[in-house]
């Protein structure tokens, strides 16, 4: 999850424009080499073992290497070898921006140093497998924009970004959260969670963006804004909230209840004082994550 936050970091430093960043991110999938692919290439894991670990990643909030070691598919020293072979994706993003002429190598060098220092990413190998580091990135993301966030909020949003990567695609960048009291709705689905923690989250986007989002999520080629597209947005939100409730139950013995996801009628959604919106840029358009904790 480094490229996503490094992208936001570059925007906050006004080092690149949103258009340059979106263009660079859309090229990442062509250049990113995955750990599983490297493991197969080196003969450390079979294709079926890689498939199994990839599947388990959709159920467990863990990194590829963690699961592979737990299942005895990789030894620690093999993983370390693979991690040395794998470049952090923010390095690839930075290199892409240099290739596009958006940054010079000197600017990139300086920005990467600042980014590593600000986020305490002083050890690439450790950072690549440590889930706490991605939590730390999310924490810094909120601190950078002066948005207060408790542990539940951070855990929730950390998982949400990970689920976007897993189920929709990693080629996104979260932008500065907006503290607003009213949000003008496009097509919006919302779900309320209750129990020890009570909050509402919503997912909003333009209909044509929803078609692309749903096509990726459902792995189907939708070409119109129909009931399946609408159901895909609800499914994603419900799946994410379900997985979050499993995490909370397993890790913190906190039980949450989920209401069914509902379409937010609009045209304006009223948010309380805790409400905020995170715009997220994908190459196919912007989606908006809305929170009321």
């Amino acid at each position: 999850m480094y490229a996503q936050f490094f992208g936001g970091y570059l925007l906050s430093k006004e080092a690149v424009t949103p258009e340059q960043l979106t263009s660079a991110i859309s090229k990442l999938s062509d250049t990113h080499i995955k750990l599983g692919t490297l493991a197969m290439h080196k003969g450390y894991m079979t294709a079926s073992e890689v498939d199994e670990v990839c599947f388990l990643q959709t159920r467990e909030d863990k990194r590829f290497g963690e699961i592979a070691i737990e299942r005895c598919y990789l030894f620690e020293d093999q993983l370390e070898d693979l991690l040395v072979s794998q470049n952090p994706d923010y390095l690839i993003l930075g290199q892409t921006l240099v290739d596009m002429g958006a940054l010079t190598n000197a600017e990139l060098e300086s920005l990467m140093y600042q980014y590593q220092t600000d986020n305490e990413l002083d050890d690439y190998a450790t950072a690549m497998v440590d889930n706490n580091t991605t939590s730390h990135l999310v924490e810094n993301f909120f601190e950078m924009y002066h948005i207060p966030a408790n542990n539940y909020t951070l855990a929730y949003i950390n998982l949400l970004f990970n689920n976007l990567i897993r189920f929709v695609g990693e080629d996104f960048t979260p932008l500065e959260p907006m503290k607003i009291s009213e949000y003008e709705v496009n097509y919006c689905v919302a779900q309320r969670l209750s129990g020890v923690a009570k909050f509402t989250t919503a997912l909003d986007m333009e209909p044509d963006v929803a078609v692309s989002f749903a096509s990726r999520y459902a792995k189907m080629d939708f070409d119109a804004f129909d009931e399946y597209v609408k159901a895909s947005l609800e499914d994603f939100l419900n799946l994410h909230n379900g997985l979050f409730s499993v995490n909370m139950s397993n890790n913190s013995s906190v039980e949450l209840n989920l209401d069914p996801p509902m379409q937010e009628e609009g045209p304006v959604m009223q948010l309380n004082e805790t409400g905020f919106v995170i715009p997220v840029i994908y190459p196919f358009g912007s989606i908006f994550l809305i929170f009321e904790f």
Binding site: T58, G242, L243, P260
Partner: protein
Amino acid sequence: MSEKITILVGDDSILARKQLKDILIGIQDNLEFVEASNGQEAVDRFKEVHPDIVFLDIVMPVKDGIAATGEIVASDSKAKIIIVSSVGTQTQLKAAIEAGAKDFIQKPIRAEQVIAIFNTYIGG
């Protein structure tokens, strides 16, 4: 021609119902599907058609899948109900089993798991 097998799919998501049907439809050619978009509708449809197996989501409007499971099993103790949900907490699993569900599939669903469960309870 082999005997018809009726499958009730209860989920408020039309996408989730389609995905489950798309997986099951490839197993045998004698399957008939009945759909419900909430828990109460699932109970009503069960009593009408007496399906051979039921796949039920938990989080649904009107009546959730656990409550619907309890009502279905109360009307037919041999009902084969499989819960399909993203909310796979121990608490929900326990509630589903206590209500009379036979098994649990964690979303996102995987075709092999759905087929294996179908074969376990209906026979391959």
